[in-house]
Amino acid sequence: MKRFIAVLSAGLLATGVVLATSASAQAAACGSGNFCAWTDANYQGQKIEWTGDDGWWEGNIADQDSSWANHGISGPGIKDYVKVYASAHQSGPMTICLAPGQEAGYNGVANDRGDSHIWATGC
């Protein structure tokens, strides 16, 4: 049982990025333990999938983010919330804070602004 928890938690402790193309029409296809951002609305287009923090998003997603999903795993002391910032290195305005299990599909006003994100124990 502990092994199960350890495996689920491992994603939050490691740092990594996965690039993929989303084919989902509705659900946000984002692995457990990860934060995902897509270049198009409603979890479409190119997907960037992070297991850790990223202080400077790559050019293929920076200021091109249109939908987001936090699939972090909760646990005591675990950073499972995601804060997205409009500037690199978690500076500038915070555009959104997502709790585990929360997604944001698209909005014309709130679009193409993200440059960095950080995992936190709360918002």
């Binding site: 199960f4 509705q26 659900a27 002391g77 959104i96 804070c97």
Partner: protein, 167 residues
């Protein structure tokens, strides 16, 4: 006592132990950690009842944990973002158990979690935005208190199995 609940309790014991001083009585662990430990215990039991193992694949675990299809709950923030969540996953079931009302917790916590983005977006002081949302903040505290009570009882009693259904 179920193994996962025991694990959650062990984590809480460690947290409590690290926070106490020599010779003093053990302080209560942070409320946030108690609720998160209970959430973990509930969701892990739910995943096991759905037949998932560490080898099931991250997307299968993600679908079971966070839900599938179109997200049922939705809230538009003053910043323009529309935040959504599902009601069919193990996490949703855990939130219903702990907070009593997943919909209300979702709507309240999304607003409270995004007070700073709202203030920065509108160019207003955070204190002013907090004052404007004092009803939501009060509700957030009430729901958190309920969750803490439920989580504490659940972890102390070791009963994470939902009395109805398999969520």
């Amino acid at each position: 006592m179920r193994a996962r609940t025991a694990t959650a309790l062990a984590v809480l014991t460690l947290l409590t132990g690290s926070a106490c001083t020599a010779g003093a009585t053990h302080p209560a662990p942070p409320a946030d950690d108690v609720i998160k430990a209970a959430t973990r215990a509930l969701t892990d039991d739910c995943l096991t009842r759905r037949g998932l193992t560490p080898h099931s694949g991250r997307q299968r675990v993600s679908d079971a944990l966070f839900g599938t299809g179109r997200a049922e709950l939705s809230l538009r923030l003053p910043t323009g973002y529309v935040v959504r969540t599902h009601t069919d996953g193990c996490l949703a079931a855990a939130q219903r158990r702990l907070y009593g009302d997943q919909d209300r917790w979702f709507r309240t916590s999304v607003v409270v979690n995004n007070l700073r983005p709202e203030a920065e977006s509108a160019g207003r002081p955070l204190s002013e935005v907090r004052a404007a949302h004092r009803a939501e903040i009060a509700e957030w505290r009430r729901l958190r208190a309920r969750a803490l009570t439920t989580a504490t009882a659940l972890l102390e009693g070791g009963g994470t199995t939902h009395p109805k259904g398999n969520q």
